[in-house]
């Protein structure tokens, strides 16, 4: 099987998804689809920042090399060790296990979008993909300094090998990729390169959008991941599959639950980078680029994938719709500590009817695979990304935004927690010049000035007027108002979810968000990440209204995912 076919975007140059509609001006391909991607096998370390450097890379400068102080660079690359395979990489790291700077503790996690698709005579002919995420750290429990993304077999130089490594000195992640079938390693940039042109959204930063490790299916039940919620058994892969080779036994036996990857590795990594970033960005000289922060409040710079806890095929009587389909629950509820428990259940018969009506299916369009029905866990949907949530939280905690102002902003078009054009339009009130973090000349103050001026000009129904009214509420009252509006929405959705049309509508809503994900997000690397439907990819988006109805979204420019 072709490794390239399995992982079309895992080796730069990243290929155009010619089967997808829609403009993609940010792509910067310098080779066309299908062209050879191999480079000479010259062991060494080169720089290759996509959007800046040529595909073959360039010599890394002495200054860049000096600034690489992560364990991969320190222990291997700067010492002339250039592993070709995962096994060689691990063996090389193991040589330093006794050193104070070593990273001896290893964790292994599996992810496979094929992991729960039954292996039978029909599906056996499709190549099944499974990826490893390996981490290495100094301590047995806790932070990882190296995160490796790869696939079995671990002794094959033709398998992609990508590393994000934490540099404690410079407080950044460095991103590396081993060249295809070579011992050439490419430094693809650091976390700061994710945040601004010409490298933002390019190369590794098309999925590591804000410069930190990413776990798309971050929360329980960790769809597609091996976890305490679901096993990815070897029996679901054909006997000849690389995962079933003896060489992979050690990884299989060591595989741990994704809940540990979420809580001990990825979430702390995102927080670690965010804290380091904000310490620098919120310095005494002011915020040089307020837009870079506020876009993570007002837009969804990236997304994660949530799902119901219930399996799509089971005897469980109801499906609990992921709350983040309806509201930005994880962010908003941080500011509403007394919010009531919200659960919206769709009776299973209505869920199954909606699945059938919308002809929900799993597909791998490149392989020609299609299977009727939902993903293993029901109602998978894109939701606000943890890396955006953490920024909102940090800005409030540091006093840059008040909880009330953050809530006021998030309550604009709150029924559409991602990809809201109305909320994104508020970016026009973000200063385009350096501004103080706090105080009367601070970011919030400047934004409020602009919003208040606009409210005066645009009438009572504008987003700006809504914010001004919200900000006039007293402490206690604004929380109650936000809770009232969220509760009213959920009341309405809860009632409709028990009807045939309502269940179909909320699945249409999920489907609309899935289509937008596939169309607009470079993170949409694998078709099987989210189900398809009978609705055409290019069909108009729908949105949720506060009365619980789902309607076609007015024609506006789709908010930028960048």
């Amino acid at each position: 099987m072709s490794e390239d076919l399995q992982y079309p975007t895992r080796s730069y140059p990243y290929r155009a998804r010619l089967d997808r509609a829609g403009p993609d001006p940010s792509r910067d391909l310098d080779v066309s689809f299908g062209e050879s991607v191999e480079t000479p096998d010259v062991p060494g370390l080169k720089a290759r920042l996509v959007g800046v450097d040529p595909y073959a890379g360039r010599d890394i400068s002495p200054g860049e090399l000096e600034r690489l102080d992560d364990p991969l660079a320190r222990l291997l690359l700067k010492r002339g060790t250039f592993p070709r395979t995962l096994q060689q990489l691990l063996d090389a790291l193991n040589a330093f296990n006794g050193d104070p700077g070593g990273v001896p503790h290893q964790n292994v996690f599996f992810i496979s979008e094929w992991g729960q698709i039954p292996l039978n005579s029909t599906t056996a002919r499709y190549p099944r993909q499974i990826r490893y995420i390996l981490t290495r750290g100094r301590n047995e429990i806790g932070a990882a300094d190296i995160l490796v993304s790869t696939a079995p077999p671990s002794d094959d130089a033709g398998i992609f090998l990508q590393v994000a490594a934490w540099d404690r000195t410079n407080e950044v992640f460095h991103f590396y990729e081993r060249g295809l079938r070579t011992s050439t390693w490419f430094w693809a940039g650091s976390s700061w390169d994710a945040l601004a042109p010409p490298t933002r959204g390019k190369g590794p930063f098309d999925s590591h959008v804000n410069g930190a490790p990413v776990m798309k299916e971050r929360k329980e039940p960790w769809l597609h991941w091996h976890s305490i919620s679901q096993d990815i058994p070897r029996q679901n892969f054909p006997p000849g599959h690389p995962i079933n080779r003896a060489s992979e036994d050690a990884f299989v036996n060591q595989c741990q639950s994704a809940h540990l990857l979420q809580t001990q590795i990825v979430e702390p990594a995102v927080r670690r980078w965010t804290d380091a970033r904000l310490r620098r960005v919120l310095g005494s000289s002011g915020i040089a680029d307020p837009g870079a922060l506020m876009r993570q409040v007002l837009t969804a710079t990236s997304v994660n994938i949530a799902s119901a806890r219930q399996r799509s095929r089971s005897a469980e009587p109801d499906i609990e719709i992921p709350l983040t389909l309806l509201v930005d629950a994880e962010t908003l509820l941080k500011f509403l500590p007394d919010a009531p428990l919200i659960i919206v259940r769709v009776p299973r018969p209505l869920y199954e009817q909606a699945i059938s009506t919308l002809q929900i299916s799993l597909r791998d369009t490149q392989q020609g695979f299609q299977q009727a029905g939902d993903a293993f866990f029901a109602w998978a949907v894109p939701e606000r990304a943890f890396e955006d949530i953490v920024v909102v939280e940090a800005l409030v905690r540091r006093g840059v935004l008040s909880a009330q102002f953050a809530t006021a902003l998030l309550m604009i078009d709150f029924t559409n927690p991602i990809d809201s054009a109305r909320r994104a339009a508020l970016m026009k009130h973000v200063p385009s010049v350096t501004v103080q973090a706090t105080g009367t000349g601070g970011l919030q103050a400047k934004m409020l000035q602009s919003i208040e001026a606009a409210a005066g000009a645009t009438g009572t129904n504008s987003e700006e007027a809504e914010i001004v009214r919200f900000m006039a509420l007293r402490e206690g009252d604004w929380q109650a108002e936000a809770e009232r509006r969220v509760t009213a929405l959920v009341d309405a959705v809860e009632a409709r979810a028990k009807t045939r049309d309502g269940a179909i509508d909320y699945l249409r809503l999920a489907d609309s968000r899935r289509r937008a994900f596939r169309r607009n997000r470079h993170l949409a690397e694998f078709d099987l990440s989210l189900p398809f439907s009978s609705v055409a990819d290019g069909a108009p988006a729908v949105e949720l209204l506060p009365d619980g109805t789902v309607v076609q979204r007015p024609e506006t420019t789709a908010p930028s995912a960048r």
Partner: protein, 363 residues
């Protein structure tokens, strides 16, 4: 290797020779019961792949797996809208702390937390210890809970040990060992036994899904963190045609505390505030979290993700619990998968929580 003698949990040395023998027998009996299951309940037995290592040698080439789960009670999380709500609820009663980890919180006059004590010692051990050495029980309470504990606080007029005594039944006056009704070694061993049954579905394929297994096998509480994953991992090894059991010393242990998201006022590593006070050789059964007395701050001044520690539940989020499963004679089992599921109605003592739906909104 000869069949083994079960060691007290955590390698504790409270028991004398007679006590250790009694402990060995207790665990061996639990193992035998878990091996037998209940043949009167369809598809609850037989359990050909589960074994009692005191009767049958583990043998060479066995593998172990440290099954881990988060100590914060998942059932509480499912019933709460916000972090603050779930932490508060988890701290409200030992009855909701059902992940084989219970805790008690001490606060100062400013209501700031100064100390949190976590325990995962099973009640069976303490009942046995109380029978063999009541003086030792008193001594341990005085050492680990409060020096003023009196004999009559722990024993009734007939000399029977009171597990839910005033020093061990709340979230504020101390926690010596587990008391929540599902937090028993007996349950843990039974889960391993029940989950060792390899099951096939109607189409002949093996059942592998975590939830499907616990629903079909009717072991433990579905919505906990612990029971489903313990069962899933034991079953995984059974599906690999291994004989399975639980490693000695049988028990639930603390796998560790992750403090990387914590911050202290003076930059001290918060991990140094966590110490194990009972257990040995990586099998720890009691932990205390507190700031040394010479520091000018208390635990309540330490932050997690920027939030001061106000609840023991906040800490439980970062504790992993573990049991060690053993897979022996790997690949050699000839046991045939069982096709069929345990009937829930036929399970005496089935926990009502096993099928409990979450409360409707505003619960």
């Amino acid at each position: 290797m000869a069949p083994l003698t079960f060691t007290p949990p955590g390698y504790l040395e409270d028991l004398d020779a007679a006590g250790r023998q009694a402990w060995h027998q207790l665990i061996s009996d639990l193992m035998d019961r878990a091996k037998t299951g209940d043949p009167t309940i369809p598809f609850n037995a037989p359990r050909p792949q589960f074994f009692n290592p005191a009767q049958i040698d583990i043998g060479p080439g066995a593998a172990t797996e440290d099954v881990q789960w988060t100590a914060f009670p998942r059932v509480v999380a499912l019933q709460s809208a916000t972090d603050h709500q779930r932490w508060k609820k988890a701290d409200s009663s030992r009855e909701v702390q059902d992940e084989y980890c219970e805790w008690s919180v001490k606060r100062n006059a400013e209501n700031k937390i100064t100390t949190i004590v976590f325990t995962c010692e099973g009640p069976e051990y303490w009942r046995l210890l109380a029978r063999h050495n009541p003086a030792k029980v008193l001594e341990l309470y005085r050492t680990h809970v409060d020096p003023s504990v009196a004999h009559d606080d722990l024993f009734d007029s007939d000399g029977r040990y009171i597990a839910r005594n005033r020093w061990n039944d709340s979230v504020s006056s101390g926690a010596m060992h587990l008391i929540q009704r599902n937090n028993t070694l007996g349950d843990e061993v039974e889960i391993a036994g029940a989950a060792s049954i390899v099951r096939s579905k109607a189409d002949g394929s093996l059942m592998t899904d975590t939830r499907e297994l616990i629903e079909c096998g009717q072991y433990g509480v579905i919505e906990r963190n612990s029971d489903p994953v313990i069962g899933a991992r034991v079953n995984y090894h059974a599906r690999n045609r291994s004989d399975v059991t639980i490693a000695d010393p049988v028990g639930v242990y603390f796998a560790g505390l992750d403090t990387q998201r914590w911050a202290t006022p003076d930059g001290t590593d918060p991990g140094t505030f966590w110490r194990y006070t009972r257990g040995d050789r990586g099998r720890y059964v009691r932990a205390v979290l507190e700031v040394p007395a010479d520091k000018p701050y208390v635990l309540g001044d330490v932050t997690i993700d920027g939030n001061p520690i106000q609840f023991g539940g906040q800490v439980a989020d970062f504790i992993q619990m573990t049991i060690r499963a053993v897979a022996a004679r790997i690949g050699q089992s000839t046991a045939k998968p069982l096709q069929g599921c345990v009937d829930a109605a036929g399970m005496a003592g089935l926990s009502a929580q096993a099928f409990a739906r979450r409360p409707s909104r505003r619960g």
